[in-house]
Subunit: 241 residues, 3 copies
Amino acid sequence: MAHYVLVHGAWHTGTELGPTAALIRAEGHQVYTPTIRGNRPGDSKTTGLAEAIESIVEYLDENNAKDVILVGHSYGGMVITGVADRGAHRLRRLVYWNAFVPNNGESLLDMGAPGSVDIMEAFAAERNDGSIELPFPFWREAMINDADIETAKRTYNMLNPHPMKTFGDKISLSQNPAEMAIAKSYINCTEDTAMPHSHPWHPRLSEKLGLFRLIQVPGSHELCFSNPVKLAQAIMDAGRD
Amino acid sequence: MAHYVLVHGAWHTGTELGPTAALIRAEGHQVYTPTIRGNRPGDSKTTGLAEAIESIVEYLDENNAKDVILVGHSYGGMVITGVADRGAHRLRRLVYWNAFVPNNGESLLDMGAPGSVDIMEAFAAERNDGSIELPFPFWREAMINDADIETAKRTYNMLNPHPMKTFGDKISLSQNPAEMAIAKSYINCTEDTAMPHSHPWHPRLSEKLGLFRLIQVPGSHELCFSNPVKLAQAIMDAGRD
Amino acid sequence: MAHYVLVHGAWHTGTELGPTAALIRAEGHQVYTPTIRGNRPGDSKTTGLAEAIESIVEYLDENNAKDVILVGHSYGGMVITGVADRGAHRLRRLVYWNAFVPNNGESLLDMGAPGSVDIMEAFAAERNDGSIELPFPFWREAMINDADIETAKRTYNMLNPHPMKTFGDKISLSQNPAEMAIAKSYINCTEDTAMPHSHPWHPRLSEKLGLFRLIQVPGSHELCFSNPVKLAQAIMDAGRD
């Protein structure tokens, strides 16, 4: 039995990873799906990256977690990298799933595609409360391109406004991921165009891990909604020893 | 029920898309497979790009087509882009299938791989009537690499000499595809080496669409022959809302 | 019935290709799995590339092989290229499977990723007898990423120390692969990270073949262990006319 902690991406909470978690549990593993500070109902939308990371460190401490396979999706890659830097003693392996891989001093926006900072800031300006929402056409075409329109609409309604500060804050690490001794995997969904393929997740960001295990699976950025069965299998293939 | 118009590529006619169309119809949709001027029996082999585009504009007008999902394969991407610029009121979505995506003033040959102009002109010189044919080894190895030899030979015999002028003519557009308001999808067959992978269809050409939906499917440039079932599904995944 | 000769990669012998060969034979073909000089029990670990190539030329001569589909895996690509230059009269097609494709005067190390020469020399320095072994973590994460840990361990124990000289020797060819008249295919396992994807097997090395047939299949560098069924099918799809 392995111990999985699944850390969601921006605009999500842990709840949306429920179906995936259930499938991994059915194979005999323990699975936790915490929600990062800033994405919980009532959380301040001025939450920054350090607080976000701290909330998952606290979660692992409170549960006295050991031997954890820590999985991070998208923005969750920022979070698990920060957690690994502070709580390596609780971890067995890091699994990045179409996730950002920061070196010390980098922000999520530093790793975006050319022009993405302007786009994100324009989205954020529409709300003017520190949070950012995605317009539906971008969600439907670029993030959940492998689902039908009903699934795209239903899941869009589950999203929560994301604290923009977590995207701009530069992470503080004592060592870069490539230097971390822990085992690492990268799951790449091959039709994920949340990051344009001319400026892709893999290998551009994955190779910042140094030695890592690559798992690829067909699907969009939101495989948790479009195909939890394939995602659960990919997580287990990435997470095993 | 959706309304599909499938626009073939160079050397083909609409007839070869028959098996794919039948599979889409079986799911309850309307499907048309016109043949572009220049590829119809008896057409002049000095046909140019503007005439080719005009023939599909006329086809939509004659059928008083509405709400069309307009699919273009390879060279057909030149044609559907021109049609979209002139007849957007008849269209619901553009679907490019391993297709050229021209900006205003570009020709198909402008988007070819380095050296491809020379190769195409050498092929054309062998016929000396304005048309171009492909040598069988290129067809078999680079265009229908996923089929057996019998399928490769049988389908080679269906091809018609293609008017070279349609490759060299520069398209005239009032706006580039990225600026067009219509929804867009790109189907990428992942083993398509008609365009070398160092100079690929996707993302090099697909990203000229601006926001678009990516659908990928295993197969060669000629999936209409090697696997119409997978192609039909990809077209429906690309064409739905 | 076709005649396949499967040439293994570094650290391997022909024996490890037994399960794949059996699956191809079950489809009615003849399959041979020689072991390259330098990898046979008792072979000198100072064996160089020319001797390695010569051992397969001799093998084909001794068996009076004709009409051979010659398949090379990884380092085996160096060997089959050299064999093709000397014994084209015995061959029907070359099939490279995540393999090196050398031009005249190139060594395997010339085609490695940036930094790989230093890494390989560091591995070799640990043995100091002319041979090189891979550390288990690299094998498990970068070369057999699609297998479970038991398979990774079991197959690691089958490996033999590889003569480093075969990696550094420059090949001597009368013509480069692109100029060879013989038919050529390239099998690319899409999760193969033995070569980092920022510096990939395909299309970087495959396109040195000139006109070639691409076959892609999901899997790691060691598909012979993780999925011989898929590998056997890929070899037959690559090897047929």
